[in-house]
């Protein structure tokens, strides 16, 4: 006996948890991804190129860049609406969601939360429109999970700052107009707003990636890079500056990963219904159905968790540890779902004709960046026991 199949998130009645406005925003982003991303994304991934400038302008016109921020040309949506936009963008590709996360949650958020009025006026309206692209330099080659050890320094030279050092794995690095760079100073870690045409700034693109190929990743090198005193972000000192930005971006990932997972599961289900082996659709075998049922549970639970965290965030009641719950769970489960779906597609699963292996490879980066699986495990461990186990 056969019925009309129900879509994975419809089975969880996820839409019943969303307001009409949230659904409207979600639908607009979904429409954008369908028409502007899906037709080209496999090519961008294969060639390792992405029309970042044009895309940024389109995303700006759509309103997603810094959409959850208030003022300065930003839309000022709820956190849940921002999360749902991330879900749709990442259902297209994690690289596109990364572009948006870094722009809105890392670079724009840092300027919005900690910048001077001049920083905000100079950059935020242009960044919201996508006319200016931002990047965020925290990680260094030798300091990833432990950014507090960073070696990039900013020292006083008269009224100016002189920055020296380098940053690694910086999303949007080569296409950015402005970089938010974190460096050691005499009074701790401080952030700097750096126009990328500043003499002494250099960006080198990281090649040969097997993941997030539709996203620009770079090394940034600063050699006696001179900045005016006003380049420093006045509003924050210490690691809590960059960490609060990361919390914003991680929040987007909690939602985003479920988009990639949903796209994998939907692809695998429709493939399995069409694909026949031993005279039956492979979807008709109990082994396949168990895979689907297990993945469905994780997808739905992950989405429910994301929405729960989103509601907390909209009430300003979301803690960093709770974001870790979401990042750890959803990045991990999305990666598992992608791998399982890859296997269901058999040989076709290894090609870019289907989105699954692309999502699977992308999710390896998502699993690692913004705090690795292990780091979030230790955050939760510390929350539960009171004991920090990082060192």
């Amino acid at each position: 006996m056969t019925n009309q199949p129900i879509a994975p998130l419809a089975l969880f009645a996820i839409d019943s948890l969303l307001s009409e406005e949230e659904r409207a925003i979600r639908d607009v982003v979904r429409g954008f991804v369908d028409t502007q991303i899906r037709p080209s994304i496999a090519d961008w991934f294969e060639t390792g190129t992405i029309p970042a400038r044009e895309l940024a302008l389109e995303l700006g016109a759509l309103g997603v860049l810094g959409m959850h921020l208030e003022g300065y040309g930003c839309a000022g949506t709820s956190a849940v609406a921002y999360g749902l936009a991330c879900t749709e963008l990442e259902a297209g590709d994690s690289g596109i969601r990364s572009l948006v996360s870094v722009q809105g949650s890392l670079a724009m958020y840092a300027i919005h939360a900690f910048g001077s009025e001049e920083h905000k006026e100079a950059w935020l309206p242009r960044m919201a429109k996508g006319e200016a692209i931002g990047c965020f330099g925290l990680t260094e080659a030798d300091f990833g999970s432990n950014p507090s050890g960073m070696r990039t320094t900013a020292s006083k030279d008269g009224a100016d700052w002189l920055l020296n050092g380098s940053k690694m794995w910086i999303t949007n690095g080569n296409v950015a107009d402005v970089a938010v760079v974190w460096a050691q100073t005499e009074d701790g870690i401080r952030g700097f707003v750096v126009p990328t045409d500043t003499p002494g700034f250099q960006a080198n693109e990281i090649k040969r990636k097997m993941s997030l190929r539709a996203s620009v990743t770079s090394e940034l090198v600063f050699t006696d890079m001179r900045l005016p005193h006003s380049a420093m972000l006045p509003g924050v000192r210490g690691l809590k500056g960059p960490l609060s930005c990361l919390n914003e971006a991680r929040f987007g990932i909690v939602f985003g990963t479920m988009g990639a997972a949903r796209d994998c599961l939907e692809t695998a289900i429709s493939y399995a219904i069409d694909r026949e082996q031993f005279d039956k659709p492979i979807a008709a075998y109990q082994l396949t159905q168990k895979k689907f049922a297990d993945m469905e549970l994780e997808l739905g639970k992950g989405m429910l968790l994301a929405l729960h965290l989103g509601r907390l965030k909209d009430q300003h009641a979301l803690s960093p540890e709770q974001i870790s719950l979401g990042k750890l769970n959803n990045a991990r489960e999305a990666l598992d779902i992608a791998r399982e779906c890859r296997s269901i597609l058999g040989g076709n699963g290894i090609t870019l004709e289907y989105p699954v292996i692309r999502h699977m490879n992308n999710l390896e980066s998502v699993f690692t960046y913004e705090g690795t699986n292990e780091m979030h495990t230790l955050v939760i461990g510390q929350a539960l026991t009171g004991i920090a186990a990082y060192r």
Partner: protein
Amino acid sequence: MKIAVCVKQVPDTWAEKRLRADDSTLDREAADGVMNELDEYAVEEALKLVEAHGGEVVVVSMGPDRAGETVRKALSMGADSGIHLVDDSLHGSDALATSYALATVLAGRDFDLIIFGSESTDARMSVVPAMVAERLDLAQLTFAQKVDVIGDTVTIERLADYGFDTVTASLPAVISVVEKINEPRYPSFKGIMAAKKKPVETLSVADAGLDASKIGASAAWSGVADFAARPPKSAGVVVADDGDGGLKIADFLTNQKFI
């Protein structure tokens, strides 16, 4: 310029459409509702005209409660206000009754232009714009692929099999648009959030001053006597090409009256 755009909520284009067992009308609960696609083009054209000439766009919809979503979609695209005619007694209205109801709501509101999509994906009759124009005694410029307003005249390119006709009328007038006319915008997030605060006038049949005997299923001039599901696809015919494949295909097409 004051422009009205009439929009209809229809079942999602991709959804399987069903008729209700009780009264053979379209089951509007069975599928998600969306704005009729061509109506998006109508909204877009109205917004463009107002951007060029100034003025306001009022979106008008007749439909059940949830058609309010479609009104709000138009508001989120940029329309200024909405009118939602909603009443249980409108259920089952045919094209004549719909045009009567819309014309009554539109009359006396001083619109310079009333814009429609040229057909709805659920009914596909393309007659309501013309009927509304007749009832309001306004010029009708239907199937427009281009609209220009100059002073108090409006000129359209009316799509035809052989190309297009250029048709001009003085304002006020009724226009229906085809897909070629423009590329509807996505609502921006700011637009979506602003839509909540824009005024929507909700009218019942009594508020609108409609004659109850002219609307609803009982007033319809046509009815569905019976319906049946389309039979499942049959296996199809495989033509083996033994040198006469072309002839066999031609015969097949002739038998099916395709050629």
